[in-house]
Structure formats: structure tokens, C-alpha cells
Amino acid sequence: MKKIRVVIAKPGLDGHDRGAKVIARALRDAGMEVIYTGLRQTPEQIVGAALQEDADVIGMSILSGAHMHACPRVMQLLKEKGLDDVLVVVGGIIPDVDIPKLQAMGVRGIFLPGSPMQQIIDFIQANARPRVEQV
């Protein structure tokens, strides 16, 4: 089976990248291919990276409260590019009231502070789109 390919991105102006880096490394240690976009990515850049890298998963780390702007735009762009099957997960500070809204727009995994890394790894392994071996 081919390795799961994950784009880890930090949208918005926030530079607090501890969580993004720790999770990127944990996913890599769990056997996934991880592409870390670096800071201050627009939704266009994030979806562009997913397209270019043939990603199965996009993980976004958001602590600043900008999730209700970044997430809808990313989901819309994925639809436009025909990447609906890319698994989108979000980690960070997300108020309870926003969780159902994010789920309704198709964000499937939402991980709040204190989530074990293993839980995130397991979720991605169980839900990432299946990769077909190219012949």
C-alpha cells in the first residue's frame, strides 16, 4: 500500500507553530508522507499544495479564531478542484459552537487542545481516502 500523503498547513496570520510541527513529525513517525507548508498560507495556497502534492489529507492548525474564514474557503476550493475526497482535519482552539458548523461544511476531524497524537494518527489512518497503487 502506498503511504498516506498529508499536507499540514497554518492558515492566517498566526505564527504559533508548535502544534503543527509536533503533529507533522508524529504523522511522519507513524509512516505517512508529510508536507509542511510553513506559515501564513491562504486557502488558495493550501489547496494548491494539496493538488500539487497529490495529498490524501489536509491538516490545518488554527489557534487564532480565524477558522470560520479559512475552513469554508478551503472546502469550497477543494470542491471546485474535484478534490472532495481529500480528508480535512483541523486542530487548535475551536469554540464548541463552531464544531457543528465545521462538521456541516465537511471538516471530518476536529481535534481540540490535549488530543493525544495517537488518536489523530488513528483517525487519519481510518479515514484517509484509499490510495490505489499506480500500475
Binding site: 499540514i8 492566517g12 496570520l13 498566526d14 505564527g15 504559533h16 507553530d17 508548535r18 510541527k21 509536533v22 507533522a24 513529525r25 508524529a26 511522519r28 508529510v34 509542511y36 507548508t37 510553513g38 506559515l39 501564513r40 491562504t42 487564532s64 479564531g65 480565524a66 477558522h67 470560520m68 474564514h69 479559512a70 482552539i93 469554540p95 464548541d96 459552537v97 481540540l112 487542545p113 490535549g114 493525544p116 497524537m117 495517537q118
Partner: protein
């Protein structure tokens, strides 16, 4: 050298077979005795509080003379909303103000910039022009308070706005007192709110040193910060080492810019984290004072005692707060605050219980302030100076922290300095390693976090949180549009041109910035002018 516990500590412990280490992974012995601090019997022994090298404190009377300043960081939404929170904190007995700016302001972007979408007023107050600064301090006399402003890349612009408000109020700049964070090195290392490349950023900082040494002599021109380094996942010793080495870099750049060390060094202050490992943190604060005193006297030949004395602000560890069982955070914060007080902090911010979830509610912020007041007025710890001085364990730990910091100094000195070390990604990599190691120890449950990986509670009742909607963005955007039609745009353009011209040359950028601010240029316009001349910094992302 150790008199006891030659075998690993875990084996000698009665019953529990966990690693006995600090939160930073430092092994701790079962028992410490006088043999562990034998070196303090020499001429490098432990001086009294108020005496060089100030391990036991910079004031002979400790908190008997004066308590620490209870300075609660606050800011959200519009300037009017934050102004109201400030007035509430002052009324509740807070001793000084501390301004949190939103991300667009911190990154030098106006609310109408593409990247500001969804960020205006969210993590702090939105300040776009002098008009916002006027609203922020409406009804607050700048001559009578001290203000700390957490601002880094656009520090000169925001500071110029503060000075312009003081000017309008008729306050004498020479009497103004407060702090701007203005510490760009830790932004490159940890928090990543940088705009300009390192060397140009250092120029802005030495311009402020020079400007303040004559114009605003009581102002703390920089708050060299370990807080963010620690929050990014460093160990306690790394926080100490990188922060003080940043301090050394600033002093060196000031001297290289032609300033006399004693003309600007007394205005340098520091800002540390107080994390959960009680004694390790106290040792860190004490070691910091000692190292700085020796560095300033011996490395930089400073003559003025005020240049030797390390003064610092402390904030309890935001990263230690949990979203689970949030009331536990009150207890964590109280212990961390006590460590800061026993370490002799000069001012303190205590975090609110809800900060793993959102910006604090007014009630949570008041409780955080009350925590400090209880330590100050009920616990009795302020009756005595450095009550833990002479403890075998604490003094050993203080010496160990100092040794580790000096080892890092040697490595960074060999690289050519902190700017060079940052360009090579050295501190960034050290911190990323430490942060990953800590996360693994949590996963393996070598380190227990109550409510997260043990003592978990399934049926938690949500607590009320502060929710910031989009009305701030709409209001700030419409104000910005109005301003651009009412101000003298020709005057703005001319002042920005002078700023660019100064940036290309070697003049002090503070003077043209003051003129830009008085013309109501926006933070984004002033930063863009400098971006045009100097370009922007981009880091190579490492994982």
C-alpha cells in the same frame, strides 16, 4: 560529586517506578545536602539580596519595599471595548496596563489586507492609526500609569502612537514609564511574528535604544522574552539560555551602533515564563539575575549598577492550561505565580482559567488578578526576601541552570552570535526537539497532565467563554475607509517618503515615524513603506 543517590533516582524511590525528572526532563536526585552546594562556600558564594550578582534579588528589601506590579495583559475587539476592560482592571486594583494587539496589528497589516480576513480584533485589540490609540487610552492619564505593550515588528510605529497620545494629553515624555516588548529575535526563534529581515529589524531596535536614551529615558525599550520560547516547547534551561543570549545580542548591536553601554542597558528588561515545575522555575529566575549581572559587568564592562540588575516580568504558562476540566487551571496558575514570586519577579501576569478555550471573560480575568492578590496579601511569602535562599536543592539547581545556559552561550558565540544562529536554524531546531520529546512523554504517560492523560472526566459541563464576532472587523474597516477620505493624504504620502528615505540611509527612524503617526498614517502603510525598502523575511519551514 554527588553525596547520595549514585544509582538512578527511580530505583531508590520507595514504591513508584516513574522517572523522577522535571517537566524539562532534568533528572532530580532523591536528596540534596550541603555537599551539593560546596562551591557556594568559595568567593563566588551567595551574596545577600541587593548585592552583586543579585542571585537573591535586586532589592535588599525584597517585596517589603514594594510588591511586584500586577500587570494583566488584555485586549480584544475595538479600542473602545479594550478601554472599558482596562478601566475595570485599574478599578479592581491592577497596578499597570498591558496591551494585547490583534494579529493584523502585530503583523503590520491593515484590516483590509487579504491575510487579515477573520483576524481583526480576535486575539487582541485592533489598532490601525493614531485615532485608535486615542480611543484605547481615552480617559486614562498616561502620565499616571505604566503601560506595557506587546508589540514587536511594528513596535516603533505603535510606540510612536503612544508618544503622540501622551503629547496630546500634555504629558512629559521624560516622565513616561512603561515597556514595549520590541524583541524581534524571539520572533524569529519562536513566535514567528516577524516582518523585516533580521539585520534591518535589529536596526529598528537600536534606533529605539538611541531615541529613548535621550527622549524617553524612563521607558523600558525592550522586554527580552523567554516566554514565547518556552511556549514553543523549549526546556527551562533553553528558555534561560536563548533569552539571555538574545539580550547579549541586543547589547552588542547597541554598542556596535555607537551607543555607550550604560546609556541604554538600564532600560533593558526581561520577560520569562513561569511553568509548572516549581523549583526549576525558581532556579531559572535566580540564575538569570546572576548571569546577566556577570555578563554586563565582565563581558560588556558596564559601570552603572543599574545596567547589571536584571528586572523581569513573568507570565504563567499558557501552554500548561488545559481545555479539559478548566477550573484546574486556577490551581496550576496559582502555583506558577507563587514560583514567580519566590523567584523575585518584578511584575506578573496570571493567566485566566478559560484561556485554552478562548480569550478570557471579565470574570475569569478578575479571578486571575485575585490569585496574585491572595499570594501578595495572605500567603505571608512577601514578608521575607528570597525565602528559599540557601536550600541545598534550589541552590544546586540554580548553579546547574547557570552552567547549562553558559554552555549554550559558547555554542552560539562560536556561530558568530544569535542572528547567525537563527539564520542557521539552531535555536529553532533545539526547541522543536524539546517540544517533541515532551509530547512523547505525555503520550507515554511518563508525564501526567491531570484531566488530560489521567483523572479524565467524561461528563464535563461547558464553561461560559468570550466569543468575538465579526462586528469589530466591520467597524474597523468602515473607520479606515472614512479616515482615508478625511485625513490629509498628501501629508501622509510625504511623511511616508521621508520614512523610506531615512530607512535607506542611517538616520534614526523614530523621528520620521512620529511624523507619519501624527499625519494618521496606518500601521500597514508605515510597514509597507519599510517593506518596500528592506523586503520581508521568509523562514524555511523545518519539521
Amino acid at each position: 560529586m554527588k553525596s547520595v543517590a549514585a544509582e538512578p533516582a527511580a530505583k531508590t524511590a520507595a514504591g513508584r517506578s516513574i522517572p523522577f525528572t522535571t517537566i524539562s526532563g532534568r533528572p532530580i536526585e532523591r536528596l540534596y545536602t550541603k555537599d551539593d552546594i560546596a562551591e557556594l562556600g568559595t568567593e563566588r558564594g551567595l551574596a545577600n539580596p541587593g548585592d552583586f550578582p543579585y542571585t537573591r534579588g535586586i532589592h535588599p528589601s525584597g517585596y517589603r519595599g514594594r510588591l511586584w506590579t500586577m500587570r494583566q495583559f488584555a485586549g480584544f475587539g475595538t479600542p473602545e471595548e479594550t478601554n472599558e476592560r482596562f478601566k475595570g482592571l485599574l478599578k479592581a486594583g491592577g497596578g499597570g496596563l498591558s496591551v494585547a494587539f490583534d494579529l493584523p496589528t502585530l503583523m503590520g497589516r491593515d484590516p483590509d489586507h487579504e491575510l487579515s480576513l477573520g483576524e481583526v480584533g480576535k486575539c487582541g485589540v485592533s489598532v490601525v492609526t493614531l485615532a485608535d490609540m486615542e480611543r484605547l487610552f481615552d480617559g486614562i492619564s498616561l502620565a499616571d500609569i505604566t503601560t506595557s505593550m506587546t508589540i514587536n515588528s511594528p513596535a516603533p510605529m505603535i510606540f510612536a502612537m503612544y508618544l503622540a497620545v501622551a503629547e496630546q494629553q500634555g504629558a512629559d515624555w521624560k516622565k513616561l514609564s512603561g515597556t514595549i516588548q520590541n524583541d524581534i529575535l524571539k520572533e524569529f526563534i519562536a513566535q514567528k511574528e516577524y516582518i523585516f529581515p533580521p539585520r534591518q529589524s535589529m536596526r529598528l531596535i537600536t534606533d529605539i535604544f538611541a531615541f529613548c536614551s535621550t527622549e524617553v529615558p524612563k521607558w523600558n525599550t525592550i522586554s527580552v522574552s523567554g516566554y514565547h520560547i518556552r511556549e514553543a516547547g523549549s526546556t527551562s534551561a533553553q528558555e534561560l539560555a536563548f533569552t539571555l543570549r538574545d539580550g547579549i545580542e541586543y547589547v552588542q548591536y547597541g554598542i556596535d551602533a555607537g551607543l555607550d553601554v550604560d546609556a541604554f542597558a538600564p532600560q533593558i528588561s526581561f520577560f520569562f515564563n513561569s511553568h509548572s515545575d516549581f523549583f526549576e522555575e525558581i532556579a531559572k529566575f535566580r540564575a538569570a539575575r546572576k548571569i546577566w549581572a556577570e555578563v554586563m559587568r565582565d563581558r560588556f564592562k558596564a559601570k552603572n549598577e543599574r545596567s547589571w540588575k536584571l528586572r523581569f516580568h513573568t507570565q504563567t504558562a499558557g501552554v500548561s492550561l488545559t481545555a479539559q476540566q478548566p477550573y484546574n487551571n486556577v490551581v496550576r496558575t496559582a502555583l506558577q505565580a507563587l514560583a514567580a514570586v519566590l523567584g523575585g519577579t518584578n511584575s506578573l501576569h496570571t493567566n485566566s482559567l478559560d484561556e485554552a478555550l478562548a480569550l478570557p471573560t471579565a470574570e475569569a480575568a478578575t479571578l486571575a488578578l485575585r490569585t496574585q492578590q491572595i499570594i501578595a496579601h495572605e500567603s505571608g511569602v512577601t514578608n521575607i526576601v528570597d525565602p528559599l535562599g540557601g536550600s541545598f536543592f534550589l541552590e544546586r539547581l540554580t548553579l546547574d541552570m547557570e552552567r547549562e545556559a553558559r554552555q549554550y552561550f559558547d555554542i552560539i558565540d562560536r556561530m558568530g552570535g544569535m542572528v547567525e544562529a537563527i539564520e542557521q536554524g539552531f535555536p529553532q531546531k533545539e526547541i522543536a526537539e524539546a517540544s517533541y520529546r515532551f509530547q512523547q512523554s505525555v503520550e507515554l504517560r511518563d508525564k501526567i497532565i491531570v484531566g488530560v492523560n489521567d483523572f479524565v472526566q467524561e461528563d464535563e459541563t461547558p464553561i461560559p467563554i468570550l466569543y468575538i464576532d465579526e462586528s469589530t472587523a466591520e467597524r474597523q474597516l468602515s473607520r479606515l475607509r472614512d479616515l482615508k477620505t478625511t485625513r490629509d493624504n498628501e501629508k501622509v504620502r510625504r511623511s511616508l517618503d521621508v520614512l523610506k528615505e531615512t530607512a535607506r540611509g542611517t538616520g534614526n527612524t523614530m523621528y520620521p515615524l512620529l511624523d507619519c503617526v501624527r499625519a494618521y498614517a496606518t500601521v500597514g502603510e508605515m510597514c509597507d513603506a519599510l517593506r518596500d525598502v528592506w523586503g520581508e523575511y521568509e523562514e524555511v519551514p523545518l519539521i
